[in-house]
Symmetry: C2
Subunit: 167 residues, 2 copies
């Protein structure tokens, strides 16, 4: 039986940016990421959850390298004009902790096990994003080390299986 989880990654080099209340109509996601791309801003995660029916807007969250924050600040004015968001949130206190494995698909308990492990340590999960081979949680930087140790233990991974990107 293959182990479903074979690796763990921790990335403390990113910041999360949320653009709030973007009108939920065609064109706005394209506009936002074209602006960022034209600035040469490389984006890691992009998360857009669902549109509020109350005012037909959606929030778009993404992460960039923290060294790119000055570059991002240069496009804030343009983003405001183009998208007219209600608000911006910039969260620098994030560490992206991910479990990785080819065997995770159709194994319902894996995500639950990761979240429960963090819960037992009272570590709040700020953001979640998944693919077939990866489940990523954003936690506060102060909890990253403890999260990594606990997940290694729970998923029976040794130190060699951990990829660590310092902030």
């Amino acid at each position: 039986l293959h182990k479903p989880v074979t690796g763990l990654a921790c990335d403390s080099s990113q910041v999360r940016i949320v653009i709030c209340d973007v009108p939920d109509k065609p064109g706005n996601a394209g506009r936002l990421f074209s602006l960022l791309a034209n600035k040469g801003l490389s984006v890691d995660m992009i998360i857009q959850s669902y549109a509020r029916s109350s005012n037909n807007t959606n929030d778009i969250a993404f992460t960039i390298d923290k060294t790119d924050l000055p570059k991002f600040n240069e496009v804030v004015g343009e983003l405001k004009n183009e998208l007219n968001p209600s608000n911006f949130h910039i969260d620098e206190d994030i560490a992206k902790v991910s479990i990785v494995g080819a065997g995770m698909i159709d194994r319902p308990g894996i995500a639950a096990k990761m979240f429960e492990t963090l819960a037992q340590l009272e570590i709040n999960i700020k953001m979640i994003s998944t693919s077939e081979i990866k489940i990523s949680c954003l936690v506060e930087k102060a909890h990253a080390k403890e999260a990594v140790a606990a997940l290694c233990s729970v998923f029976e991974l040794d130190g060699a299986a951990v990829a660590d990107v310092k902030g």
Copy 2:
């Protein structure tokens, strides 16, 4: 120069469920996905964006196979008791359109190009989730075929590169 995008997938077999206003404290993500796992519910995407500071809650969205909707409906009562959400949204009109490629990381324009392609066809992007090798957008089922054709053209993919999961 390697092509950054080498494949495209379209999956019309899923439904999106959003649990709104889950208290943003440790334990709730674990509780939710343990409940689903214990019911044998396989989850594809999980998306949790960011917590509203106004009432300290977060919305958790996920997708399941539409044939599992009856099974999900059996746990709704329990979910309400455990998490006390303000609302549930079930959206059956989704097709998950994804571009895939090993070369996408650190290529800022790729996501923008995907979103702009959909925008030009007036196709609204309901949800976005990414990993290093995959960018997924949820669109209405009626637009899936058109989205696939346009993305194949823009990223120069032939039919063989498309994986299609019928709903």
